[in-house]
């Protein structure tokens, strides 16, 4: 990720705190999927997996979104359960992790759910399940989205993105 984009995100995180930042990152990621040509996006604030994203062909992803500054992310029983539910519906379950450090970027990992146990999952472990193609298509879109919206997010917070996503869904 470009250092400027990272600095924008860092400023948002510093202003709203890690909890809200996680939700903002999730919404920004949903918008990046729109930008990448996924037409059916469901971004959930509360129950179930965080994002469903589908293209017009058979590609369908269910993403559990995590942000961290460290080298691991916590995965709960509920997260695994939600991913399993979506897997049953034909979605490919993914962990989408953004490490909030300079030069880092989104990592999409298709960890086999039978191998996933609740607890802390090291990012080094997720590496082996990375979807390089998806990462390559989403990362630049994400940067574009952040650069486009960061000043509004900085001024208005998560609500601004809720509105943007609502407009996108209507369109």
């Amino acid at each position: 990720m470009n250092t400027n984009t990272f600095q924008y995100l860092q400023q948002i995180r510093d202003k709203f705190g890690p909890g809200i930042f996680g939700k903002i990152a999730q919404k920004l990621l949903a918008l990046a999927f729109y930008e990448a040509g996924f037409y059916h996006i469901v971004e959930r604030g509360v129950q179930g997996v965080d994002i469903d994203a589908a293209t017009e062909d058979i590609t369908r992803y269910a993403l559990e979104v995590k942000t961290t500054k460290g080298q691991s992310v916590p995965v709960s029983k509920e997260n695994i359960g939600a991913l399993k539910d979506r897997a049953r519906d034909g979605y490919m379950p993914l962990l989408a992790v953004l490490r909030m450090q300079m030069f880092e970027d989104w990592l999409f990992a298709a960890v086999p759910l039978e191998r996933l146990r609740p607890g802390s999952v090291a990012l080094s472990r997720l590496r082996s399940y990375r979807l390089a193609g998806l990462e390559a298509s989403i990362r630049p879109k994400f940067e574009k989205i952040v650069n486009e919206h960061w000043s509004n997010i900085f001024a208005r917070g998560e609500h601004y993105l809720i509105q943007v996503l609502r407009d996108k869904n209507r369109a």
């Binding site: 080298q71 300079m102 030069f103 080094s124 997720l126 590496r127 082996s128």
Partner: protein, 724 residues
């Protein structure tokens, strides 16, 4: 089913020469003290069947690491073990041999079939598996109970005991491989690699932050210098460099440097070198310009002359002062001749006074003598007559005394006073003479200084001075001339100075822009490290490492699952027999029966065993060493019984089964063995005399007893066979 019929051993472990054993009775006992060759005999059967499989770490038996096959005292020939098994078609003979004394150990195995066919090496090994369908682990689990297995289970350490039970169940390979996988510490290696990547990331992050600060500082400085932000581009920097090139060429022309040509930088990277070059050229041109050189020479001359003038003026001043002092002195006290004359006059007076004093003194001495004579020699002088002439001299003594007191003494004193005055004057004249000498000396020195200075001035301005010439005035005139020349040159180079000053100013600005652009360039390089081929490859190798660790982790899970399933299956099949034998041998009053369970240790993936009493309580705290031994034996016997249908070996081997067993337990074990002997041949090795006696008296089947009576280095075990 295969019965063990005969065993011939040569040079194997404790055996030196050849020894033959026949297992032609339902029960064979190998008895004798420890280290007499009993275990070597049983090991020989194992080695003959399984060769290298029963040696080394992979067996899970600590004693098998570095296990020596060849007897240490065997000098030549080959280790050879022949085991004969009676099978459905007749006798199957297996011969395993190993060469002695060669560096590379060569093993040979031969299988002789009842039909006379003979197979060797790989074919023989394959035939052994086809015939017996048993791995070393299976053999160890259900046919041959090792004393090492018993020893290991007696430990109180859960890890060690789990290890031992895995071994008893024939699951050592799982455990060992799991240990090997854990021991590789691949996660730590991966963590280290991630750590190195993170260090690089942090270093780059730090560099970016530092560069951002430097760029900010330089930008502020540039803006303060009047450089607009729009010019912070490579294009603008090159334009500025071109301007500087023109400026230095113009300066060169002004300063009289012929044919000077500046090379304009074409790329941004050439700017730093260009700046340096311009600086050197401008400095050089300036210092070599005729006007500048002339100006410098004038300045040097001016400096010198001013100094000289000062020195000369000072010398002249000193000379004048000395002259005035000397003249004033002469005027006041006279010159040297006058002072000498005056001194001589005083000296003359002193001499005259000395003469007078002498004369006066002579008379005085006479009067003094006369007074003393009169007082000492002529006592009646008071009679009034002169002792010399007899003339009447009534007051002679008093007259003389008065004469002395009033005339002579006063006269002398006055003369003395006059003399002192003359001497004082004489001294004064001498002192004045000295002072005059000093003043003359000072004056001479001042003249000499003046002459020196004048010579120096003459040297400096390169001309001789005539006596009538005023050096000071000449110096002043020269200095005025220099000032005029300086003024004229100063006006001539003032324009050039402005030019070079502008040039340096522009160079400084170019440097600032160059620095900013360089920092930005460096920043871009660092920022784009993460897009380089090298970094993408690094990520790929890290992903590969992660994949490798994940593959190993998956295998570990598979292995742990397989090991657990295998353990569960074996425990399940042996459970009933285990309980039966344990209760029969131990007869523990508080343990009505025993249930064995297994679970996976989530951290290591290894099997973790536990025992429960049938009443649900945990018996572990009350199990004695003897109980634990019985548990091991029961497990072995239970597994043996569980596999009886699939087992190709129709015999059991027990090596020292009574470790830590009390007399009652031994009796019960014998009862159990009596029962087993109805179904299988038994080969039992024991050093325990009590157990031997119990076996010989309570086992109702015919028994062959091999007594290992002695063992020597030279001959190996001494074995005596008896039959009961």
């Amino acid at each position: 089913m295969f019965e063990l019929a005969r065993l011939k051993v040569f040079g194997f472990r404790g055996f030196v020469g050849e020894q033959e054993f026949t297992f032609d009775r339902p029960v064979t006992l190998l008895c004798g003290e420890n280290h007499r060759g009993k275990s070597s005999t049983l090991n020989a059967v194992e080695w003959c069947l399984f060769g290298e499989d029963c040696v080394g770490k992979k067996t899970g038996i600590r004693e098998r690491i570095g296990w020596e096959i060849t007897n240490r005292y065997l000098q030549q020939g080959e280790v050879s073990v022949t085991a004969e098994f009676e099978g459905p078609e007749g006798i199957y003979r297996v011969v395993r041999e190993q060469s002695v004394g060669r560096k590379r150990v060569a093993q040979k195995v031969t299988v002789h079939l009842p039909d006379g066919a003979q197979l060797e090496d790989d074919d023989a090994e394959n035939m052994l598996f086809t015939l017996f369908r048993s791995s070393f682990q299976d053999f160890m689990t259900a046919v041959y109970q090792h004393q090492e297995a018993i020893r290991a289970i007696l430990t109180q350490e859960p890890k060690e005991r789990n290890d031992a039970i895995d071994r008893l169940l024939g699951l050592s390979p799982y455990r060992e491989i799991l240990k090997g996988i854990t021991g590789a510490r691949l996660e730590d290696i991966l963590k280290g690699m991630e750590g190195s990547r993170e260090t690089l990331r942090k270093r780059c992050e730090q560099a970016i932050r530092t560069l951002d600060n430097l760029i900010k500082e330089e930008r502020e400085k540039a803006i303060a210098e009047g450089i607009s932000e729009e010019t912070f581009t490579e294009h603008e920097a090159l334009n500025r460099a071109a301007g500087i090139a023109k400026a230095i060429e113009s300066l060169a022309e002004d300063l009289g440097t012929a044919d000077f040509k500046a090379t304009v930088p074409v790329t941004f990277n050439e700017i730093a070198e260009f700046r340096e070059w311009v600086k050197i050229q401008a400095d050089g041109m300036w210092t070599q310009a005729p006007d500048v050189l002339k100006q410098e020479a004038l300045a040097i001359e001016q400096q010198k002359l001013v100094t000289l003038k000062g020195q000369y003026e000072e010398a002249k001043g000193a000379e004048l002062t000395a002259q005035e002092e000397r003249d004033k002195f002469v005027k006041q006290f006279g010159d040297e001749a006058a002072l000498v004359k005056a001194a001589q006059k005083e000296q003359q007076q002193i001499d005259e006074l000395d003469d007078k004093i002498y004369k006066t003194n002579t008379r005085a001495r006479l009067i003094q003598e006369a007074v003393r004579y009169l007082k000492e020699v002529v006592p009646d002088i008071e009679g009034g007559r002169c002792p010399l002439c007899g003339a009447n001299a009534p007051s002679l003594l008093s007259h003389l005394e008065t004469e002395w007191e009033q005339k002579v003494k006063a006269q002398v004193e006055e003369l003395e006073q006059q003399k002192r005055e003359c001497q004082s004057k004489l001294e004064e004249f001498d002192s004045l003479k000295d002072r005059l000498g000093l003043l003359e000396k000072n004056l001479g020195k001042a003249h000499s200084n003046c002459d020196d200075c004048l010579r120096l001035v003459a040297q400096t301005i390169e001309r001789e001075f005539r006596k009538e010439e005023d050096a000071q005035a000449i110096l002043s005139t020269r200095l005025e001339q220099i000032a005029r020349e300086q003024k004229s040159i100063g006006e001539a180079i003032s324009k050039k100075r402005t030019k070079i000053s502008d040039l340096y100013g522009n160079l400084g600005k170019l440097r600032t822009i160059d620095e900013i652009l360089k920092y930005q360039q460096k920043r871009t390089v660092i920022e784009h490290i993460w897009e380089t081929k090298e970094f993408l490859e690094l990520e790929k190798s890290l992903n590969e490492a992660s994949q490798f660790v994940e593959d190993v982790r998956a295998l570990k899970v598979d292995l742990a699952e397989a090991s657990l399933e295998e353990a569960e299956s074996r425990i399940h099949s042996a459970q009933q027999a285990l309980d039966k034998y344990f209760c029969a041998i131990v007869k523990h009053p508080t343990i009505p029966g025993l249930v064995m369970e297994v679970a996976e240790d989530s951290r290591t993936g290894l099997n973790s065993y536990s025992f429960k009493s049938k009443d649900g309580t945990d018996p572990t705290p009350i199990l004695s060493q003897g109980d634990l031994n019985c548990l091991a034996l029961s497990l072995f016997l239970g597994l043996s019984e569980a596999t009886v249908d699939s087992q190709r070996f129709a015999f059991l081997i027990l090596d020292d089964p009574t470790q830590s067993l009390g007399p009652e337990m031994k009796r019960e074990l014998v009862s159990v063995l009596e029962d087993i002997a109805n179904r299988r041949k038994l080969v039992i090795a024991t050093p325990d005399l009590e157990f031997k006696n119990l076996l010989t008296t309570h086992i109702t089947k015919i028994k062959a007893i091999y007594d290992f009576t002695d063992w020597t280095d030279k001959d190996g075990p001494q074995v005596v066979r008896t039959t009961l």
